[in-house]
């Protein structure tokens, strides 16, 4: 069982018999009052999002999910296709099931497919992915050293904040858990 102090973004809980992932988390404590643990929960089967508050003393059942390693192949009208490289079994996942994870998928990437009662309900990306910068305006202000930042859009369409020295065509490493820039990758 989990207690409130275990709650954080990405934790998977069993609620009313269905797996839920904490999509957003905050801790509040009004005045000198008791702690309120505010969760934005996503039902991993239906995709529905809702808010729920918990407080100290509440406990939670972990969602027991099985991980199966698969390779991402391609996207077609029916969805995103993944293949188990041992059994060559292929599965489809919908855009809604993938959520924001789809932004970081690249062809042939290996991911963990999350199975619940024999059904694929989501993926776990590698913690870090390398993506090429497709659009980022050149830095014109001269000073590139002092912690300045500018927007950049990477292949797949995700936009994030990067240091000024990053240029179009560069490959950068992104932390898929936070969505933030980590470093420029030399190829």
């Amino acid at each position: 069982m989990y207690s409130c102090s275990d709650l954080k973004k990405g934790l998977k809980l069993l609620i009313d018999g269905e797996p839920h992932i904490i999509a957003g988390f905050d801790f509040a404590k009004p005045g000198k009052g008791q702690a309120i643990y505010k969760c934005k929960l996503r039902n991993m089967i239906t995709g529905s999002l809702f808010d729920r508050s918990y407080r100290s003393g509440d406990s939670f059942e972990p969602a027991q999910l099985e991980d199966v390693r698969m390779q991402y192949l391609y996207q077609d009208e029916a969805g995103y296709v993944f293949m188990d490289n041992k059994t060559f079994e292929q599965i489809y996942l919908s855009e809604a099931t993938l959520g924001d994870d789809k932004l970081f998928l690249r062809d042939n990437m290996e991911v963990e497919i999350l199975m619940f009662n024999g059904r694929a309900i989501g993926i776990t990306l590698p913690n870090f992915v390398n993506l090429r910068v497709e659009r980022s305006d050149p830095w014109v202000k001269g000073d590139t050293a002092a912690g300045n930042s500018k927007p950049a859009t990477v292949e797949g369409g995700y936009t994030l904040s990067v240091p000024p020295f990053v240029e179009e065509g560069d490959v950068i490493q992104i932390d898929t858990r936070s969505g933030e820039y980590v470093t420029r990758v030399k190829e």
């Binding site: 404590k29 005045g31 009052g33 702690a35 309120i36 508050s53 590139t144 050293a145 912690g147």
Partner: protein
């Protein structure tokens, strides 16, 4: 060129933070407040039902400098301020760090109404334009700030009255989810006159003994400061500490001794008022940041 870019990116916020601290110091020094430093590692904090201290050997790290500040007041120091680190176990969120910076100031021969005046003057000194832009909304600092009692706030914004919320133990939840987001919008709000059981160190209102002279300052829905007219009755303070300590133990928390030296010196405390202001949160508001991580050099996860 390489280096820690996430850290380098905080430079504008850290520079703003340094200027804010300098302005705060100048503000209090100009009004003849004495800046003090009191020990951060102490034998015991005041018992609080919902605030847990971090242990340091057989002592604790302070959750607030309040006990030492009031012992100074009781010894005859009339106006005091301190900017210091405090620690609270298990508090981490978008506006919480387990180690954060507190600004506390105390005045003898004053009550919580005087501290409201101080808050208005301090924030106006930090924002000379008198207008604060927070996430697209505008907060007018120049107009008189709202003074709203807790009971009136529940009547206006909550599904239950204050008495009902207390009776079903949903006060904190409703305050956090329904009331706080509506406070300090357009202009800052002093949420004042808390039920006395929620104000262990505060003086009761003369004409309403069930309510205490305590307020919290909200700006743009964010709680910035907690203040009260100090309780100066050692017998009543001892009784309230015992009540809170018993409630702590009933929740299975570690038994703690009472702060005996503080209680012994409380009888010398003149009528006075004190306030604790979360400096990190003030910096969030003044810099347009959205989380506390953006206004400190190192959140704990990056150490």
């Amino acid at each position: 060129m390489a280096g820690n870019w996430q850290l380098a990116k905080r430079r504008p916020a850290l520079e703003a933070r340094a200027r804010i601290v300098q302005t705060i110091r100048a503000f209090f020094i100009a009004q003849n407040f004495l800046e003090v430093e009191t020990p951060q590692r102490i034998p015991v904090n005041a018992p609080e039902l919902h605030i847990d201290a971090m242990r340091s050997g057989t002592w604790s790290l302070q959750t607030s400098p309040e006990l030492c500040m009031k012992r100074l007041l009781a010894a005859g120091y009339p106006r005091l301020f301190q900017i210091c680190r405090v620690w609270r176990e298990g508090e981490r969120g978008g506006r919480h760090l387990p180690e954060f910076t507190m600004l506390e100031w105390y005045r003898s021969d004053a009550d919580y109404l005087k501290l409201m005046d101080d808050c208005e003057a301090l924030v106006r000194a930090l924002v000379p334009s008198g207008v604060l832009a927070v996430r697209g909304a505008t907060i007018d600092l120049a107009a008189p700030w709202e003074r709203l009692t807790v009971a009136a706030a529940f009547a206006a914004y909550a599904p239950l009255s204050l008495a009902q919320a207390l009776a079903v133990d949903r006060f904190d939840e409703i305050l956090s989810n329904e009331v706080e987001p509506r406070l300090g919008q357009g202009r800052p709000t002093f949420l004042c006159d808390y039920p006395v059981q929620l104000a262990a160190l505060a003086r009761c209102k003369a004409n309403q003994p069930d309510f205490a002279e305590r307020f919290e300052l909200y700006i743009a829905g964010i709680e910035i400061a907690n203040a009260f007219s100090e309780l100066t009755d050692p017998i009543e303070q001892h009784r309230r500490f015992n009540t809170d300590e018993a409630a702590r133990r009933a929740l299975g928390k570690e038994p703690l001794p009472l702060p005996e030296k503080f209680l012994a010196e409380l009888s010398n405390l003149p009528p006075s008022a004190g306030i604790a202001l979360g400096l990190d949160r003030l910096v969030i508001l003044l810099t347009g940041a959205t989380t506390i991580d953006e206004v400190v050099a190192f959140p704990p996860e990056e150490l």
